[in-house]
Amino acid sequence: MKKLLVSPSPHIHGKDNTRNLMRDVIIALLPSLAVSIYFFGFSALRLTLIGVAACVAVEYLIEKYMLRTKVTIGDYSAAVTGILLAMNLPPNAPWWIMVIGSIVAIGIAKMTFGGLGQNLFNPALVGRVFLLVSFPVIMTDWTMPDSWFGSAIDASSGATPLGIVKEALSKGETLQQIFAEHDFSYTQMLFARVGSVGEISALALLIGLVYLLVRKVIAPHIPIAILGTVAVFSGILWGVDSTRYTDPLFNLLTGGVLLGSIFMATDYVTSPMSHKGMVIYGIGIGIITVLIRQFGSYPEGISFAILIMNATVPLINMYVKPKRFGRK
C-alpha cells in the first residue's frame, strides 16, 4: 500500500508567505516610484536600482561568505530595504552614498543582529540617519536634478517646505510672512513637492497605503495612530500660536510623515506585535516627530522618532498584551 503522510494539524496553509508580503510592499511603493521618476527622471530610477542591487549584494555576500548560512535574498526583504533607503534620499544623491547606506543598513543594522526578524532598528532608517549625520550637506541638498518635466515643481529654492519654514522662523519671521513669501499650495503638495525620492507625492503614498490595507499586508493601527497624533498635537500648538506653529495639514503633507508612517514605521520586525502596542508606538512616533519639528534643530524628525520608538518595542511587547479571550 502507498505510504501516507502523517503530520499534526493544521493540514493546510493560507496564501501568505514572506516573499508575497514583501512583493506587496514593493508594489505599494510603485506609485511613489513612478511619480518620482516622472519628476526626477533617470536619477530617481538609478538611485533605486543601485539601492536594491547594493542591499541584495551585501546580504548575499555576508550570508554566503561571512556567516556561511542559507542565503535569504529570495524573500525580497533586502530589496525592500534598498527601495526604502532610496526613497529616503535626495533625488540627486551620488551613487556611492547609496552604497554606503546599504552597507550600513544591511550589514550593520540587519545582519549583526542575526538577520531577518532579529534586528531592533529599521535598517533603511539606520542607513538614512547614518548618512544624514555623516554627509549632512549632500543629504539636505534638495536641488532638482535635470529632469524631463522639472518645471512642475518650484525647485529654485532648493529646500523643502519644512526646511524653509524652520530657517525663516529662526530668523524671527512669522509664519504669515513666510507663507506670503512662498507658494506652499496644499493641492500641489498632494501631487508633487520638493523632498526625497519617496516623499514627492502625498497622493502616491496614500495609494500605497490603501493597497497595503486592502491586501492586509499591514494593520491600519500604526499609520492611523501616527497621522492622528501628528494632526492633533500640531493642531494644539497651532491653536496656541499660529504665528510660530504650522497648521496640521501642513505637518501631514510635508516632509517624511506619510512615507515614514506608511512604509517605515510599519516595518514588521521593528514594530509591536499587539494592536494596542501598535497604537502606543504610533502615538509615540507622532509626538516625537512634532517635538523635533517644532522645537528641535532639525526641520524633520520622523526618522529619529521611529528609531527612538523602535528601541521601546521589546518593552511594549513585554507589557502590552493583546486582548485575551475571556478576561474581563
Binding site: G117, N317, K323
Partner: protein, 443 residues
C-alpha cells in the same frame, strides 16, 4: 451579521460534497466496534466471543462517570474481543462481530414518522441519553448526558446548537440540517427540556443559506429556537467562539462554557438525541463525508459504527492517485490517518483526501514578526512568543502567557507567512504546562 470577537481566519470553503445526499453505506461483513469512542474511560464489554447480538444491543457498559456505553451496530456473532489499531495506529480494545443479516432490537422505532411530542421528563431524558451512549459529535465526543447535567451551583440559561461547520470540506452537519431539519429541532427541544431552559439557538454560517432557510421555515412550530446566521469565519464552531458569536458572552479563562449559562451541542448530536429519546435508538450510526478535490466522488454516507474506513475508501475507488494524506475530520483540526483499516467511530465525520500540493509543509523561514499569528489567534494569545518560549523550555513564562488557553485551532500555523509550525510547538508546551499545573497541590 454575528461572529466571534477576536481573531479568526478565512480558509477556502471547499464544500464540494454539499450537493451529495446522505446514502446508506452497506453494512460490512465484519464490524470492529471500538471501546474508546468517547472522551473518558473506555467502555467495558458485556458480551463474550460466541454471543449472538442484534443491531442496537448493548455490548459494552460505561466505565465511570465520564464514559459512555457502546451498542452493536450490526447483528451477528461476536467473533472475539481484541486489540485493534485505531487510525493513528494505537491499539484499542474492540468487539469484533461477524455480521449475519440485520436484525434490530425490539423497541427501536425504525419508521420514518416524526415523533414530535416529548413524553419523557427531565430525568428520564438524561437517563435515556446516557443509556443510548450519546456523545458529542462535533469532535470532542464528550458524553452528552454529562454535559446536560450542569455541576451543582451552575445553571444553564440556554442551549446553542452548533451548525457552524466552519471546517472546510465537511458537509455532514449541513446534509443533516437540510435533510432532517425537524428532527434536529426536536432534538434541541428535548435537550432544552432536559436542561430546564426555554431559549435555544442554532448557529449556522452564512455559507449554508439553504440550511438557514430550511430551519427558519420551522420557526412557527418551534418558536423558542432561534436560527442565528453567522458570518463565515474559522473557528466559529469552537465552543467558546460559538457562544461569543451567538450570545456575546466569553467563557472565562480556565472556565467552562456553563459559566456563561450556555450549553453547546452539535447538530449531529441533536439528531442522535432525537433518535434516542423519540425512537429509542442507541447511537450506532454516523454521517460521514468523503471528499477532496483529488477524490473522483463526493459522498455523504450514513455508516454503521465499526465499518473499516478502508471499505468506505474502496467505495469511492480507493485512495486517489494524487492523495498523499488521508484525514479524519477537517483540514484544520482533523487527524492524519496512518492506518486506513481502522474502524469508524461514533464521532467520525469525514474522510478527506489531500494532495501533496495542498498539504505538504513548506520549508520554515525566520519569524519576520509580522504579528499575523497574534491577530488571528481567537484566544488572544501570542503564538510567536509561545513558540519561542516553548523552544527555550521556559515553563513559567509559558504559563504566564496562558499557553493553557490555546484551543489548538491551528489559525496561527495556517497563517504564518514564514511557515513556522507554531501549533506543533505550542501543543507540546501546553501539554507540559498543564501537567505541571495539575501536579500542584490545590489549596
Amino acid at each position: 451579521m454575528k461572529t466571534f470577537s477576536i481573531g479568526g481566519v478565512h480558509p477556502c470553503d471547499s464544500k464540494i460534497s454539499a450537493g451529495a445526499a446522505i446514502e446508506n453505506f452497506p453494512i460490512p461483513e465484519v464490524a470492529y466496534i471500538s471501546m474508546s469512542q468517547h472522551l473518558g474511560a473506555p467502555a467495558e464489554p458485556v458480551v463474550a466471543a460466541g454471543d449472538k447480538v442484534k443491531t442496537g444491543q448493548l455490548i459494552a457498559k460505561a466505565n465511570g462517570f465520564i464514559s459512555a456505553p457502546v451498542h452493536s451496530s450490526v447483528s451477528g456473532t461476536v467473533k472475539s474481543i481484541e486489540m485493534v489499531k485505531d487510525l493513528a495506529g494505537n491499539l484499542c480494545k474492540a468487539v469484533i462481530i461477524d455480521v449475519e443479516g440485520d436484525e434490530w432490537m425490539e423497541g427501536i422505532d425504525r419508521s420514518e414518522d416524526i415523533v414530535r411530542e416529548i413524553k419523557l421528563d427531565q430525568k428520564e431524558i438524561i437517563a435515556r441519553i446516557a443509556e443510548c451512549g450519546i456523545v458529542g459529535l462535533g469532535g470532542a465526543t464528550f458524553p452528552t448526558n454529562v454535559k446536560l447535567s450542569p455541576p451543582p451551583g451552575k445553571k444553564a440559561e440556554f442551549l446553542i446548537i452548533n451548525g457552524a461547520e466552519c471546517e472546510p470540506y465537511l458537509t455532514s452537519d449541513y446534509r443533516v440540517m437540510i435533510e432532517m431539519p425537524e428532527q434536529v429541532l426536536i432534538g434541541a427541544a428535548i435537550m432544552m427540556k432536559a436542561l430546564g431552559v426555554t431559549k435555544g439557538f442554532v448557529g449556522i454560517e452564512e455559507n449554508k443559506p439553504e440550511a438557514i432557510r430550511v430551519l427558519s421555515g420551522y420557526s412557527e412550530k418551534y418558536p423558542d429556537i432561534q436560527i442565528v446566521p453567522l458570518k463565515k469565519k474559522y473557528p466559529q464552531g469552537g465552543e467558546k467562539q460559538l457562544i461569543d458569536a451567538v450570545v456575546g458572552r466569553q467563557v472565562p479563562s480556565m472556565g467552562l462554557p456553563i459559566d456563561t449559562g450556555a450549553v453547546v451541542q452539535n447538530v449531529g448530536t441533536a439528531l442522535a438525541v432525537y433518535e434516542a429519546v423519540q425512537k429509542n435508538k442507541p447511537l450506532f450510526e454516523g454521517i460521514l463525508t468523503v471528499t477532496g478535490e483529488c477524490c473522483p466522488q463526493q459522498r455523504n454516507f450514513k455508516h454503521r459504527v465499526g465499518t473499516p474506513i478502508s471499505k468506505i475508501i474502496e467505495a469511492v475507488g480507493g485512495v486517489p492517485e494524487e492523495a498523499v494524506k488521508v484525514i479524519s475530520g477537517g483540514p484544520m483540526m482533523g487527524k492524519a490517518m496512518c492506518n486506513i483499516d481502522a474502524p469508524t467511530l461514533k464521532g467520525s465525520s469525514s474522510v478527506l483526501f489531500l494532495t501533496e500540493k495542498q498539504t505538504k509543509r513548506k520549508e520554515e523561514g525566520n519569524c519576520i514578526r509580522c504579528a499575523k499569528c497574534v491577530s488571528v489567534c481567537p484566544m488572544g494569545l501570542e503564538p510567536y512568543l509561545l513558540n519561542k518560549l516553548g523552544r527555550a523550555g521556559r515553563m513559567d513564562d509559558l504559563e504566564a502567557n496562558r499557553v493553557y488557553d490555546c484551543i489548538e485551532c491551528g489559525c496561527c500555523s495556517f497563517t504564518c507567512p514564514a511557515y513556522i509550525p507554531l501549533l506543533d510547538m505550542i501543543r507540546l508546551a501546553k501539554g507540559q504546562v498543564m501537567r505541571i499545573m495539575r501536579s500542584r497541590p490545590k489549596n
